[in-house]
Symmetry: C2
Amino acid sequence: MHISELDTPAMLVDLDIMERNLARAAAYASSHELRLRPHTKTHKSPDLAKLQMDRGAEGIAVAKVSEAEVMLAAEPEDLLIAYPVIGAKKLERLVAVAGQTRVTVSLDSPEAASQLSSAVSTAGLNVRVLAEVDAGLGRIGVHAGHELLELARTIDRLPGLELDGFTFYPGHIKALDDDAFESLERLAGMVEATVEDFDRDGLSRRIVSGGSTPTLFHSHRVRGMNEIRPGTYIFNDRNCVACGCCQLEDCAASILTTVVSTARKNGMMIDGGSKTFFSDSLVTGTDGYFGHILEAPEARFFKMNEEHGYVDLAASPRKFAIGDRVRVIPNHICVAMNLHETAYGIRGEEVVHKWPVAARGKLQ
Amino acid sequence: MHISELDTPAMLVDLDIMERNLARAAAYASSHELRLRPHTKTHKSPDLAKLQMDRGAEGIAVAKVSEAEVMLAAEPEDLLIAYPVIGAKKLERLVAVAGQTRVTVSLDSPEAASQLSSAVSTAGLNVRVLAEVDAGLGRIGVHAGHELLELARTIDRLPGLELDGFTFYPGHIKALDDDAFESLERLAGMVEATVEDFDRDGLSRRIVSGGSTPTLFHSHRVRGMNEIRPGTYIFNDRNCVACGCCQLEDCAASILTTVVSTARKNGMMIDGGSKTFFSDSLVTGTDGYFGHILEAPEARFFKMNEEHGYVDLAASPRKFAIGDRVRVIPNHICVAMNLHETAYGIRGEEVVHKWPVAARGKLQ
């Protein structure tokens, strides 16, 4: 089927680009002896998780128990729930997942550790646990040093929990500038000191897990880190381009839209707005636009309502008529994908595959 | 079932408040002889559309053919697709919907009118059409005056199309300040002039459709307008409070979340981020927060990642422990609801009803 036979808006994934992205990350991870555990929240598809594992990934990561349930279909040997699992209902479901595959959980509090311990040990199971340390984002994670060691010791003592190392998420590092490389150096210092602390205390640090898409190809700078968990890298997006971690031609996902109005002089409205693209601005704040239009690189996608995309064509030599279609690379593919029920795999202009975004909207 | 038995995050709708909102709008519309045709993109539920029609609404509005298909379950006598329907696939589906109930379409171009005419007349059907004029938002809609008359005449001539009047969306009017009231006056002037133009040409202006939630209770100022299409009013949200069109206690929808980390001093992380709340800022730009926490009004919900909500509790006398739950009124309920599979109706703290967000993610 040709792209033109799809109705719009439609989420397209260029499979050639996606496969190149997967191969590049796998080769990098392998050459630096880094374990690659991709975060599947980006694509929310067991089909793509399987593809990642077929191409070098050792296990996968998810953000929620509901995502873990969906990802069981990919038959991962190892499933990291990279989020503290709190509350009886979620723990009950986590136990069910842990009965089917090896589960690792990252967490940052004795409360989370204790709840998890009760749930899994009551069920006669055990799960691996990574103690989470804040790498500078100020989100989840205790402070490095004393607090982290205390947390690791607590985990180590609790029944049903197998301390497997520590984890962090360098989400504060976005654009790859001098500050970013300094931050990576500081992170390396923290990791080295923590490894020494863990070794002194006899605590397992088999897994030292970090890594994000912006920092992916600089992960080797964080000496001592042996696992990375990038998510966005499978598709890349406008944020990645703005951060300097890929080029536009590395962006595999785009959204096909139709021009529905040209009533505004030098402008057009497309049939995708915030319910199609999401309303995230660029993380770098480089510009205020909401996507890159492949057919009109000079166009400015400057505003959205829920179902309307406002495009200014003043600077674009190419103009459009009602019914014309354009493909738009979104700012943030993880949140855009989550708005779509289906994604279409393309090679050139042929639609060769389609898959459900199976964990779309899995919130709990 | 008590609220505490729900897993989080969960979309709650306080039915008492919702019913009060519906009654208030219906009473206002009735007292001013305004036809109320609510936009269902806010709730995306045929159950709630039915409730709106049971309580005074005459027909409903949708943004997409896919939403129209879902809303057929509410058995509306009249279904307005308030969006130009472009392309053969969508028109084919529109024809199927028009075979089941009376359909009205708003559009702003001869191209859209001509495509629609071919599709419906080939099928031996006819649909009502509203010519769309720009009221100041600069989105869909031709200019008032000559352009609008030309469009209306085109619609009037085409087979299968029954010109039913004109429509506009005053989405540029947000906060109810002096500027807003001046804009409403200008809008009234435009409407009056257009009605005269239509009458001079013998064009039908049975329906003069406008109205949004911010301007809802000031609709009578736009003399000559006889239909309003508010969407958000069923729930209200933080945007509505910021615009001055309701109070916090009129907000029916809130999202139940759990505290998952307290590792940051004076802060907490809740298990809802942008994939739960959406990332829209307040339309008024009044503050940079992402929700109002009912249990801690002084707390600042200042940042989100996909599954993390960052809350600063420095100014809040109430502190929270891991596992505590808080209810959060979102900035923009239309986009937040679209992220949830299910909504839970509550009375006090009892969950008394649950419904699927049936048109969630219907993009085409």
